[in-house]
């Protein structure tokens, strides 16, 4: 489904992502972990097109995404959430979801209908998305007035509203308590159940280990391990990347 080939991004000589190659299969929940600064967020930005790669390529559903701007990648079926919440604060919850809403392929509305109208079908779908994110009661509140946890859920709702085939979750559990993490885990499983492929970048190991099918571990922009949660937990290189090697003081 998603294939990264020798993907690299250099910032002024810093190799944020360095020759990363991996493949995410249709319908799986794929974890991407690694210490701070290991290149996880850069990878997400390269996939969704916010950054362009220094070298290498991203292939999605057999199509090379090179040169495609973010809004076209969304139309190709990739949506995402943001680590630092980026909601449209002066729009209501309902409007945030409406903006991101995309009709199913082949059922796209014309220009006028798309930009000036809202069909009953669209309103129904928005309603469903809000229920999924447990925000139905706050539909008419401004996004900037939501509590932190609700804002995180709206980020997810907005990404889901685009009807993606692949959803990129950039640290969705950051700052969440145990109960909220469990809710999030259930939602990710629901997405998987609906056939949506999930790429999860996360520091909260409880979530990563509890929801993913496979995990890739990055360190200094390179892939150092790939496997099931069980395999990753027992991997010595991963342990070293997180805790530092016994003979090194560097963090």
């Amino acid at each position: 489904m998603l294939k990264l080939d020798d993907l690299s991004k250099h910032f002024d000589g810093v190799r944020a992502v360095d020759g990363l190659s991996l493949e995410v299969d249709q319908g799986e929940v794929f974890g991407l972990i690694g210490p701070n600064g290991s290149g996880k967020s850069t990878t997400v930005n390269l996939i969704c097109g916010v950054l362009s790669a220094t070298r290498g390529k991203v292939t999605f559903k057999g199509r090379d995404l090179h040169g495609l701007p973010p809004h076209r990648r969304l139309n190709a079926g990739i949506s995402r959430t943001f680590q630092n919440i980026r909601l449209f604060g002066e729009l209501t919850v309902w409007q945030n979801v409406w903006i991101a809403r995309r009709d199913a392929p082949g059922r796209e509305a014309g220009f006028i209908r798309n930009w000036f109208g809202s069909s009953a079908r669209t309103r129904e779908a928005i309603e469903e998305t809000l229920v999924f994110a447990d925000l139905a009661g706050r539909a008419n509140d401004l996004a900037q007035n939501l509590a932190f946890g609700e804002q995180r859920r709206l980020e997810l709702a907005r990404a889901v509203a685009a009807r993606p085939d692949l959803i990129l979750l950039d640290e969705p559990a950051a700052g969440m308590n145990r109960e909220e993490v469990e809710d999030l885990r259930q939602r990710i499983l629901a997405l998987k159940h609906d056939g949506i492929t999930v790429l999860l970048v996360e520091h909260v190991m409880e979530l990563v280990m509890g929801v993913t099918d496979r995990i890739a571990v990055l360190n200094f922009g390179k892939l150092i391990a790939l496997g099931t949660p069980g395999e990753i937990q027992g991997n010595a290189a991963v342990r070293e990347a997180y805790l530092g090697s016994p003979d090194s003081e560097s963090a």
């Binding site: 916010v50 809004h71 903006i99 995309r102 798309n114």
Partner: protein, 295 residues
């Protein structure tokens, strides 16, 4: 012979009515600033040029003069799009100065074209409803200014509806609040920006036509004063605030006419600028002091 209360009130009434054109011009600056966080200084020039095109069309074809108020805005919308493509579209968004300078270039470029096409002489512009005069006791309302006000209010209502109730308007506001997230919600920022330039251009064309109709003549000399007044309205309204621009437009119109009555045409603008300074010192965030969102 002194100036009594009736004179003052009448001057303020006339000014408020004419101020609706300032409100439209201020709205145009504000919308573009809101969308791109940049000033389009060619805005008033495209408004006046659009009014010229509207005038030319009715003069050449003999169509009813009311149609100038439709054709002018359309022409201004087209000019607005051209300004977007030449001065904003291909200049990196991080470069703040280049589009500003480019739009100043466009201001004079458009102005020069108008001057050459008309040999620089003012042309008379048809007024609408000029033979109507409503009287209420001591006060009167000029029909042409009532027309200006009515059209402005309709334009503002339509604009508000688009901005706050349609997906197009919400998308435009989304781009201004979170450009990257908007792109990732499938909104092409360049496209909504281009639409903003066309819509505001049309708004400006309407304001240009009405300003010309209220004064009775149209001249390239209108461009710079309207640019300056529009910027004053935008600043007093609080850069980026839509209701602020509307209130400030009416206020500047009212005060301007009051100053005209009290101090004469030579000193009027001194006091308008003074008003600007008072706001910059005491309320730099504009009338509502909410201004723009900064990350």
């Amino acid at each position: 012979m002194g100036i009594d209360f009736v004179d003052i009130a009448q001057a303020i009434i006339d000014g408020l009515l004419f101020g609706s054109t300032y409100a439209l011009i201020g709205l145009g600056f504000t919308l573009i600033f809101g969308a791109m966080h940049k000033l389009n200084l060619a805005y008033a020039a495209s408004a006046i040029a659009g009014a010229y095109v509207g005038l030319a069309m009715i003069t050449l074809t003999g169509l009813p003069s009311v149609l100038a108020f439709f054709l002018g805005p359309i022409a201004s919308g087209v000019i607005g799009f051209a300004v977007y493509v030449t001065c904003f579209r291909y200049i990196p968004t991080t470069n703040m100065l280049a589009p500003l300078m480019a739009s100043i270039g466009a201001l004079f470029f458009i102005d020069e074209i108008v001057i050459h096409a008309t040999a620089g002489s003012p042309l008379s512009f048809p007024a609408v409803m000029e033979d109507i005069y409503l009287e209420f006791g001591d006060f009167g309302f000029r029909g042409d200014l009532i027309f200006v006000l009515a059209i402005s209010l309709i334009a503002m209502a339509v604009l508000m509806y688009i901005l706050f109730r349609t997906r197009l308007g919400l998308a435009t506001r989304a781009v201004s609040q979170q450009p990257i997230a908007a792109e990732l919600c499938g909104i092409a920022g360049h496209r909504t920006n281009a639409i903003t330039f066309v819509v505001t251009g049309a708004l400006g064309g309407l304001a240009g036509c009405m300003a010309a109709a209220a004064v009775g003549v149209i001249s390239p000399l209108l461009t710079v004063p309207i640019t300056v007044k529009g910027l004053i309205v935008t600043v007093i309204g609080g850069l980026g605030s839509i209701p602020g621009a509307i209130i400030a437009g009416f206020a500047v119109g009212g005060f301007e006419n009051l100053f005209l009555l009290l101090f004469g045409v030579n000193q009027r603008d001194i006091y308008v600028f003074l008003l600007l300074f008072v706001f910059l010192v005491f309320r730099p965030g504009g009338v509502f002091d909410t201004a723009i969102e900064r990350d």
